[in-house]
């Protein structure tokens, strides 16, 4: 059944938004946003405006302005209300409450006789465009899409960008008597490393060559013997193996590591 009034359409859209928020996965975020965000930014405000103002009292721009402002206020207000009652702010209760508010306001507006009949031509009036206007709109869309594509694409590094490499050293989780050592390559090129671990002044283990692509990570758990001794890990590049490039030191084992 097609909705015959603007308020019936608002109710239908509110229920649909609530439903889609529950069933659509976040992997289709664009579709989900298009279908669900009206319930956050437009529908409650439209219904509230229809409930409190007489038909024709607001110009279209004023109605749109108030719809957004009321919707934002409704979102904030319902969030505060749920928080006040100790309800966690998750999708189901929040969207449900907003839908209830929207439906209540729309029903109240309908009871007051503020519903407006709608028809497809009224919602989507045919606008006859001249060729130049059509071409301008198409060109505008292409330019905007091009701007977004270029703007949101990561580009290569400027000349002189400073890359780096990191070494890290933490106690192994769960109180094991070993340490975790790791390397992160933040250079702009693939790099080979050597890692030397010294425990209580004596060499414990040596790793390498470790070849990592940009952004690459490497980690190992190293047994360091009883008594939680001081551990020193040093990083060298294979191009310059005699120079300690980075180093990490573990003296106080009172560090809670979550992952190795």
């Amino acid at each position: 059944m097609k909705p015959r009034t603007d308020l019936a359409l608002v109710i239908a859209l509110a229920f649909a938004a609530c439903l889609f928020a529950a069933v659509l996965p976040t992997s289709v975020a664009v579709l989900r946003a298009l279908l669900c965000l009206p319930l956050v930014l437009a529908l409650p405000g439209y219904a509230v405006a229809a409930a409190i103002f007489r038909p024709g009292e607001l110009r279209t721009a004023e109605l749109v302005t108030l719809s957004i402002a009321f919707s934002v206020a409704a979102t904030i207000g319902t969030g505060l209300l749920l928080a006040a009652f100790g309800v966690r702010l998750t999708t189901a209760p929040w969207m449900g409450l907003l839908t209830a508010l929207t439906v209540a306001a729309a029903v109240r507006a309908s009871v007051r006789g503020n519903a407006r009949a709608i028809s497809v031509p009224a919602l989507f009036p045919a606008v006859r465009l001249r060729r130049a206007e059509g071409a301008a709109l198409v060109a505008a869309l292409v330019l905007a899409a091009g701007a977004a594509t270029l703007g949101f694409t990561p580009l290569h590094a400027p000349k002189g960008t400073v890359g780096t490499s990191a070494i890290w050293l933490v106690p192994a989780p769960d109180g094991r008597e070993s340490a975790c050592v790791g390397v992160i390559n933040e250079q702009l090129h693939t790099t080979s490393y050597t890692v030397s671990v010294v425990a209580a002044g004596a060499p414990a283990q040596r790793f390498g060559p470790i070849t990592l692509a940009p952004g690459g990570r490497w980690s190992r758990e190293v047994a360091v013997g009883l008594g939680r001794p001081a551990v020193d890990a040093s990083l060298s590049t294979t191009l310059n193996p005699s120079v300690v490039y980075r180093h990490a030191v573990l003296r106080d084992w009172n560090v809670a590591a979550a992952h190795c």
Partner: protein, 607 residues
């Protein structure tokens, strides 16, 4: 709307029939071209190439000039004017979005993003925030963004951008409908809303993910509701406007402290002006009292720390104004940006020309309001605001007052927009018979210069274009080393660390590491500790009293800058002395992470 292409009519007939969309398609094209040009400028800047600055200004001209030209004329219908204003607002928002396409990079955006992350993680409001402790007490912005995340399934960054975009649309519309109702002229409304874009913060600062970006549009809607309330002659029909005002004012109060106080002040002054001009009856006492009461209730129940947060800022500004007047402190050097970069001379010329044109516009507008004996109290208030705005310009010479004055400008410029628009239209109507197109071109050029002047005053020239925040290397992308370090801390040590770090690093550890990060020069004085060459007993005591578990020692001086410190270094960075970093290499501290200039120390052993 269904768009149907029409067969070309005979030229003479086609020229006679006005298009239902007016010139909107061409305005769309100009704005889109401007956005494309700024995207290219940002791409050049991100890859270290020159030429971006010139393209940036070309983009500004493409977005502002055609819109101003169209809004000056009498031919556009209200719908086209409104669409043009919204289009320009969104086009200018795109300039900011394309500058930061991958993450928020303004200092204030990080604490708000952290608040949003906290709401999403815990499902609760009113969490804590170590960098800006007052922000969780005003959760309006983050509440909306949190529901955008839940409903839309988008990332917190995207949700923040969508929420601010909604605020920008609301602001453009609210200015238009407010000006239209006040002046009775759609032409003044459109031009006034466009002139408002010249406020120095409009392009960048006012669309950051921070509470004022949503509260200011809501406050403007509240002003519009006030004027509609006042224009409703029958008291019985005023209740819908009163209800609407309460709803919107409540949203303002729970979103941003200063916006709420300014709204209260605006309404009180409107009441006083009404009392002076028309007597006490009929003034919006009820509305002023209502928003005042809401503000006080919120201040006492939820946000008691606000006074302590704002007092130092205001008292410092006031103190320095007095000291400057007494010539006890040096004045701030205009056009000298942080980092030592000086504004290019052509920009200085544009900035000064814009201020002169703006001043002239205000004076002509005031003359018109005066001559026509406009006695609407809100109109009188807005004209006063325009005057006050001009009066605050000299305060930009005072270092501590500069920021306060700059932020006050966002509110005062609501008056400037309408006053200048009224003045411009008055001039255009006076010279109607003399080559109107030429006059429109001159006015549009003037509006573009005034806008450019605002941009120059509002944001440093070296920070208007995108910086390398995320890099493509082969098939992967890289983030700056400080982001990687922060993410490592969250993943390896879990998000339960209490971190002392420089301004920029602390924000990364807050947002990317989920840590409780402290920074700044007081309570606690982290800067002093990190900049010092020796580790004193007092510093150990400070670490103990804040139960700090990690210290991030970053030798790069830029890591202390919350404007420039969020990007990759190009070339060798300026460094602090090795002693400042090495002071933590003592017996009881761990050197947990070393990426060269940035080292993370585990400092529980120093307590």
């Amino acid at each position: 709307m269904t768009l149907v292409l029409e067969k070309p009519a005979a030229p003479a007939r086609a020229a006679q029939q006005p298009s239902p969309l007016g010139r909107l398609p061409f305005t769309c094209l100009a704005v889109a071209a401007g956005v494309m040009v700024v995207s290219v400028a940002d791409a050049l800047s991100r890859t270290g190439r020159g030429g971006g600055a010139l393209l940036f200004w070309l983009a500004v001209v493409l977005i502002i000039f055609p819109a101003a030209f169209r809004l000056c004329g009498e031919g556009a219908r209200p719908g086209e004017r409104i669409a043009t204003v919204v289009l320009v607002g969104l086009g200018l928002y795109a300039v900011k979005l394309l500058r930061d396409p991958f993450a928020f990079t303004y200092g204030d955006e990080f604490p708000h993003l952290f608040n949003l992350q906290t709401i999403l993680h815990t499902g609760r409001l009113f969490g804590s925030n170590p960098i800006l402790p007052i922000t969780p007490r005003y959760p309006g912005l983050e509440t909306v963004a949190a529901l955008v995340v839940h409903a839309g399934g988008v990332s917190p960054f995207a949700a923040g951008a969508i929420t601010v975009a909604a605020g920008r649309v609301m602001m453009s519309l609210a200015l238009y409908v407010l000006y239209a109702r006040l002046s009775g002229s759609e032409r003044a409304a459109g031009l006034g809303a466009l002139v408002y874009a010249a406020t120095p913060n409009f392009l960048f600062w006012s669309v950051q993910f921070a509470y004022e970006s949503l509260a200011l549009p809501l406050a403007t809607v509240a002003l519009f509701i006030t004027i509609r309330w006042a224009q409703e002659r029958r008291p019985d029909f005023r209740w819908p406007w009163e209800a609407a005002f309460v709803v919107v004012a409540f949203a303002v109060v729970v979103t941003h402290h200063v916006s709420a106080y300014v709204l209260v002040a605006f309404l009180l002054v409107v009441c006083l002006i009404h009392w002076r001009l028309h007597g006490r009856r009929g003034a919006p006492w009820l509305l002023a009292g209502g928003v005042g009461a809401l503000t006080i209730v919120w201040l006492s129940l939820a946000a008691a720390g606000t006074v302590g947060y704002l007092r130092p800022v205001l008292t410092s500004a006031l103190k320095q104004v007095i000291q400057t007047l007494a010539r006890e402190t040096p004045t701030r050097t205009l056009f000298a940006n942080r980092g030592g970069q000086v504004t290019p001379p052509p920009e200085i010329v544009i900035a000064l020309a814009g201020i002169i044109l703006l001043g002239l516009g205000v004076l002509v507008g005031v003359r018109r309001v005066w001559k026509q004996r406009w006695r609407n109290p809100l109109m009188v208030l807005l004209v006063l605001c325009a005057f006050v705005y001009l009066g605050t310009l000299p305060l930009r010479f005072v270092p501590a007052a500069w920021e306060t004055v700059s932020r006050a400008g966002d509110f005062l410029f609501i008056g400037v927009g309408l006053t200048v628009a009224l003045g411009v239209i008055w001039l255009l109507e006076r010279g109607r018979r003399r080559r109107p197109r030429r006059q429109f071109v001159l006015v549009s050029a003037a509006v573009t210069i005034v806008f450019g002047s605002g941009v120059i005053a509002g944001w440093p020239s070296n920070e208007r274009l995108a910086q390398p925040r995320q890099l493509a290397v082969g098939s992967t992308t890289l983030d700056p080393p400080a982001v990687v370090a922060a993410q490592w801390s969250g993943r390896t040590l879990s998000a339960s660390q209490r971190v002392f770090a420089q301004d920029a690093d602390a924000r990364f550890f807050l947002v990317n590491g989920g840590q409780t990060a402290f920074t700044g020069g007081f309570a606690p004085d982290v800067d002093d500790m990190l900049d010092s060459r020796t580790l004193t007993p007092a510093m150990r005591k400070l670490l103990r009293s804040y139960r700090a578990t990690l210290v991030v020692s970053d030798r790069r001086k830029i890591s202390g800058d919350n404007l420039f410190g969020f990007f990759f270094d190009i070339g060798a960075p300026s460094l602090l002395s090795p002693a400042t970093a090495n002071k933590f290499d003592v017996g009881s501290a761990n050197r947990l992470y070393d990426s060269g200039d940035l080292v993370i120390y585990g400092v529980r052993g120093l307590w």
